[in-house]
């Protein structure tokens, strides 16, 4: 069995890539996808710890995170559709109104 550090490094890498995506991209959908990636990176940590500590709680929380990701995606995409309908753009820096 490999040391747990491998999983933590992988998770870190994915987390950072996701973070870079969130910061650099203008397209809101890709920003949303980067957030999904970050959540996913967290899941790897949770599952790895769950395996190494022999406690199922980590996996339970990973499931919760997947549920949360689903909720976030649904609402996020709903907002994007609503926004696109009104402003015809999905670029983050053009979303400069707090109302429509």
């Amino acid at each position: 069995m490999m040391p747990i550090g491998h999983y933590l490094f992988l998770s870190l890498a994915l987390f950072l890539i996701g973070a870079i995506g969130v910061i650099t991209r203008r397209n809101v959908i890709i920003v949303l996808m980067s957030i999904e990636l970050i959540l996913n990176a967290v899941n790897i940590n949770l599952v790895a710890f769950s395996r190494y500590f022999g406690d199922v709680a980590g996996q339970v929380f990973a499931l919760f995170i997947i549920a949360d990701a689903a909720a976030e995606a649904a609402v996020g995409l709903g907002i994007i559709i609503a926004f696109f309908r009104n402003r015809e753009t999905v670029l983050a820096d053009e979303m400069d109104l707090l109302k429509w």
Binding site: I20, I23, N27, L37, N43
Partner: protein, 175 residues
């Protein structure tokens, strides 16, 4: 040994396609690479003997959420490449910050690895053959100790569903 081959295989795929995902200009390509990352992560879950999570990752994340993403990308016609990277300066700052955080966390992890018991407690995992059936274990956790969070999560999903419908519904009175 086989374990680590599998791990490196999936980890490599995950990192490479994640990097591709945030660099593609076309949103659909990004989505495809995110799917690849998620599938590779599912493979890592399997390697960690989290079978139920493996399949929920595939069914929920890949089969559900990502289909939704692609659906929306097609609906709002985002599939045309846009000038999507922000100004050069921001890119460099982001890279720098990310690298800094990465190096910092990496150093912590590395040191922790060096000194077990002090930085990071790393017990020896149980061998794969002796694990209890994963699905049953998870169910016991989910419907036993974590019943309340489970119910809250279901309410959260319900709220999200209603919210999404309200958001995306075609308004008749809007300008």
């Amino acid at each position: 040994m086989l374990d680590s081959i599998i791990f490196y295989f999936f980890a490599g795929i995950a990192v490479i396609s994640a990097a591709l995902m945030i660099t593609r200009r076309n949103a659909i390509h990004s989505a495809v690479f995110l799917i690849t990352t998620l599938l590779a992560t599912a493979g890592i879950f399997l390697q960690l003997r989290a079978e139920f999570l493996f399949i929920s990752q595939i069914i929920l994340y890949v089969g559900g959420i990502m289909v939704l993403f692609i659906f929306v990308i097609m609906l709002v016609r985002l599939d045309v490449p846009l000038p999507q990277i922000r100004s050069g300066l921001q890119k460099w700052i982001a890279l720098f910050v990310a690298l800094a955080v990465g190096v910092e966390a990496g150093v912590v992890l590395f040191l922790a690895r060096k000194a077990p018991g002090q930085g990071l407690l790393i017990p020896n995992p149980a061998p794969a053959e002796k694990l209890p059936p994963n699905t049953e274990e998870l169910a016991k956790g989910l419907f036993g100790a974590y019943l309340l969070p489970f119910e809250i999560a279901s309410v959260l999903l319900l709220v999200a569903m209603v919210g999404a419908v309200v958001m995306a519904k075609k308004r008749t009175d809007a300008p």
